[in-house]
Symmetry: C2
Subunit: 154 residues, 2 copies
Amino acid sequence: MNTDSQTEITDDNLARQRLRLWLQMLKATRHVEGVLRDELRSGYDTTLPRFDVLATLHATPEGMKMSELSTHLVVSNGNVTGVVDRLVSEGLAERTNMESDRRAFLVRITEKGRVLMDEMTANHLEWIDKLFADVTETDAARGISIMLDIRRKS
Amino acid sequence: MNTDSQTEITDDNLARQRLRLWLQMLKATRHVEGVLRDELRSGYDTTLPRFDVLATLHATPEGMKMSELSTHLVVSNGNVTGVVDRLVSEGLAERTNMESDRRAFLVRITEKGRVLMDEMTANHLEWIDKLFADVTETDAARGISIMLDIRRKS
DNA sequence: TTTGAAAAATTGATATATAAAGTAAATTTT
DNA sequence: AAAATTTACTTTATATATCAATTTTTCAAA
């Protein structure tokens, strides 16, 4: 048991510093999402969730299961169902039945989706590069490490 | 104009590293939000957006305008309207007309809200402290600095 | 001081999101 | 192998979110 008052104060300060980091993460994330959302809407008439799913499929041309998509994007299962529904109706993605497991679907990007994403991902990289212009390579590496540390917990 | 091929490769690597940071920020943020959401629902039968607004009001007992709330939380104006509506109907927040500007409202936490938040914020600090347990004080400071750098852009 | 533009909120339409319940298929248990 | 679980996904209900349009007020300029 920790009964040392100096240590308690130190622990409390650390906790508050961690809280500050969390609040700043939230603000920064929402800020970036806002900019990306504007670019996607004005330039491509699409939304961030659709882009996120399609970008994932673009990076994995062999396709993914619905559950793999939701795990990768850290969103709920039902959420992915709806977004993929719209992508399919727009002809940008396709659902294929899996012969190995008839409960599951293999979701894949279509040729139309691939062509679109070839262009969009290049722009996306530029948007991020501008937004993160003040972040050095060292800081980026450190930031990535911190984010991984956070996600490792519970 | 940059025509040096070595520099181009370096720039490209940096851009890709920044993109990696962004993707990890998104994942970490969603992970933490998921944990907080679960705690708030199971422990207090409330939601993350409601908590975020109420926590802001709790930290500013003199109250804030709707637009100040939305700016602070980096969400849209219409969004805040709805969340505050529910907080008011639950008796946790109140709207007051501003004599200085009849277009605006002053939103304040109620006594009932304050009592509730006194307890919730303490728990919230603990949840974050656990989730960020692997983040040292130095890393937290660096992380905060990185987040501020990002938000300063555009 | 009247006109015009900007600011503060709300509203309505649409798209996300989650949670919980439900369906169907695959696995594990007994 | 029949029963109980688990897994993969969808569906429904509800709560966020954004955007665009609208209302009301304020502010600035002619």
